[in-house]
């Protein structure tokens, strides 16, 4: 009993950091790809699939897996075994898997095989290990229960993804559209949205000094969202209708509104870039819902493109950037402070707020260019360029915080990694 909280309950900084620093590199890669190679205007072209997966796997997957490793000890008293080797394996597999997957969209079977194996190791491996640890947790909470459902959704997303790869390469004859629907729904509304909700339950009231989410919402939201995914998966098998996605979209938008209400009444009045990133995220999911309703009335490919951009780049990426700006400087500070270093710069000195703000504006520009490029193609290349710059700024900001950690670490000569790893 009570083995979760030990002296070394936080994994070494290096374990999540490699994930956090990889994210902007994949984001910038997506920008380079758009700028030099991709063409706009198609929903399911290989080009679009590459851009989507560079972001969902390379950017979002990286940050979410890194952050989960960090949060599990704090939120659930769960520590993953051997954090440094584990994170090295998952991280490497995720990089290889993401790159191979992108190459496989251009018809190279060998890359499809490598992607299937590497992504299974990264996602199914991480998902299974973490789920196992979460079910052994001493205590449960709304957040822990949401994390479990998010991880189950991750497994479904990954398995459906591997099946899609097999279909694309002629090894399976299962219906592509239906599997795609399950893959996208479980990924965006299960793994990503349920995890966001579960973490928000804790993080919004605490970091911004707001009231709690209403108890019934905390108790049931993640369950209802997960159930909605199961329910829509069944008729979609029969009707094959992606309008079914409106149900989870509506739920997530509802949750975003509930978060907005908390932010509005927060006691901590100070406005900082992370809150603005959060507001952008909330605004995007609400806009996505309107767009979804528009699509229900007048189905066009353009409306689907807009929904995709609003959900991935507007709703999720914005929120994740905001969180990175809190997590990375804090961890840098925390690990130094735990080692007894006292002359550490404060969180605001680690990342220049001005540069975080510039990033916010550039992120909004990229978002608008991406949204409009489906209708006006000349804006697509500028979107790629803005994406590159935005990610380089993110990288610079995160590296700034990380460098302070490594400089102090060298200066004080810590024994690192800790001997018990």
């Amino acid at each position: 009993m009570f083995t979760g909280l030990s002296l070394d309950q936080a994994p070494p900084f290096e374990a999540p950091l490699r994930f956090f620093l990889s994210a902007p590199l994949f984001g910038a890669a997506a920008g380079v790809f758009i700028l030099f190679f991709a063409s706009a205007g198609y929903l399911l072209s290989p080009d679009t699939l590459v851009i989507v997966h560079l972001y969902t796997l390379g950017f979002l997957g990286m940050v979410m897996i890194g952050a989960l490793q960090q949060m599990l000890p704090v939120l659930a008293g769960v520590k993953l075994p051997r954090p440094l080797p584990l994170s090295a394996i998952i991280h490497t597999a995720l990089i290889i898997g993401t790159i191979s997957l992108c190459l496989s969209f251009y018809g190279k079977e060998i890359f499809a095989a490598i992607a299937a194996i590497a992504l299974s190791v990264a996602l199914i491996g991480f998902g299974t290990v973490t789920l196992y640890e979460l079910f052994r947790a001493d205590f449960s909470s709304a957040t822990v229960s949401a994390m479990r459902l998010a991880l189950v959704s991750l497994l479904i997303t990954a398995i459906a993804g591997v099946i899609l790869l097999l279909i694309l390469n002629g090894y399976l004859e299962t219906d592509f559209q239906k599997t795609l629907l399950i893959h996208a729904a479980a990924g965006l509304f299960g793994w990503i949205s349920i995890l966001i909700a579960g973490v928000s339950y804790q993080v919004i009231p605490m970091f911004y000094v707001t009231s709690e989410f209403p108890a019934p919402l905390k108790k049931s939201f993640h369950l209802v969202l997960f159930l909605s995914l199961i329910v829509i998966s069944i008729p979609s098998m029969v009707f094959n209708n992606h309008l079914a996605l409106l149900a989870p979209l509506f739920l997530v938008a509802f949750f975003a509104l509930a978060s907005f209400k908390l932010f509005q009444n927060r006691k901590r009045k100070i406005t900082e870039p992370t809150i603005e990133f959060w507001y952008l995220s909330i605004g995007s999911i609400l806009a996505a819902l309107l767009d979804g309703i528009w699509y229900a009335l007048y189905p066009t490919d353009g409306a689907l493109w807009i929904a995709g951009v609003l959900i991935i780049y507007g709703f999720v990426v914005s929120l994740i950037i905001g969180m990175l700006y809190k997590i990375v400087p804090f961890l840098s500070w925390f690990h130094l402070s735990s080692k007894g270093v006292f002359d550490i710069p404060t969180m605001k000195e680690m990342i220049d707020q001005k540069w975080a703000k510039i990033h916010l504006y550039l992120h909004i520009v990229t978002l608008i260019l991406l949204l409009t490029s489906f209708y006006y193609e000349p804006l697509f290349k500028p979107a790629g360029l803005a994406m590159i710059i935005e990610n380089l700024i993110l990288l610079k900001n995160l590296l700034g915080a990380a460098k302070i950690y490594f400089a102090k670490k060298d200066e004080k000569g810590f024994e690192f990694p800790p001997p018990n790893i």
């Binding site: 957040t143 901590r268 605001k348």
Partner: protein, 144 residues
């Protein structure tokens, strides 16, 4: 009221004392900030004292001392106290940027600490075969 409820509520009370202090700092009102800093610091120290003088020693009777979870919590208390002291100095020196930066550091450090206590440590306290009523009463009597 359980130990968990009481202490969780006390965490929120401390947050509520911090929020207006930060607002004053953000607006550059150092007189007001200095005024608000006193009850804030007092509430924080009282919370630590309730744990370190009453709750933790009782818990250690059951789970032992050493480098366990309670040791980690005490270390984090020391880290938080150090930030609070630096924050007080920055306010006295009227260094707005430093004070706001320390405030943000204080906030995130404290919140992740509170999460551990609320998610894990207080649940642990509730499960141990201790006289919780008496402990709660003793904690309420602690002065900063």
């Amino acid at each position: 009221m359980s130990i968990k409820e009481y202490m969780t509520h006390d965490h929120r009370e401390c947050d509520n004392l911090y929020a207006p202090l930060e607002e004053a700092l953000n607006g550059g009102d150092f007189e007001k900030a200095l005024e608000l800093f006193v009850p804030f610091k007092e509430a924080m120290l009282r919370h630590f004292a309730m744990e370190e003088e009453v709750l933790f020693p009782k818990m250690e009777e059951f789970i032992g001392s050493g480098e366990g979870p309670i040791y980690v919590m005490k270390m984090e208390h020391a880290q938080i106290k150090s930030i609070i002291d630096q924050l007080g100095e920055a306010i006295e020196k009227r260094d707005q940027q430093k004070a706001l930066g320390l405030g943000e550091t204080f906030m995130i450090m404290t919140q992740q600490h509170n999460m551990k206590e609320e998610q894990i440590l207080y649940n642990m306290a509730e499960q141990l075969p201790m006289d919780k009523e008496a402990i709660l009463q003793q904690m309420k009597e602690v002065k900063a």
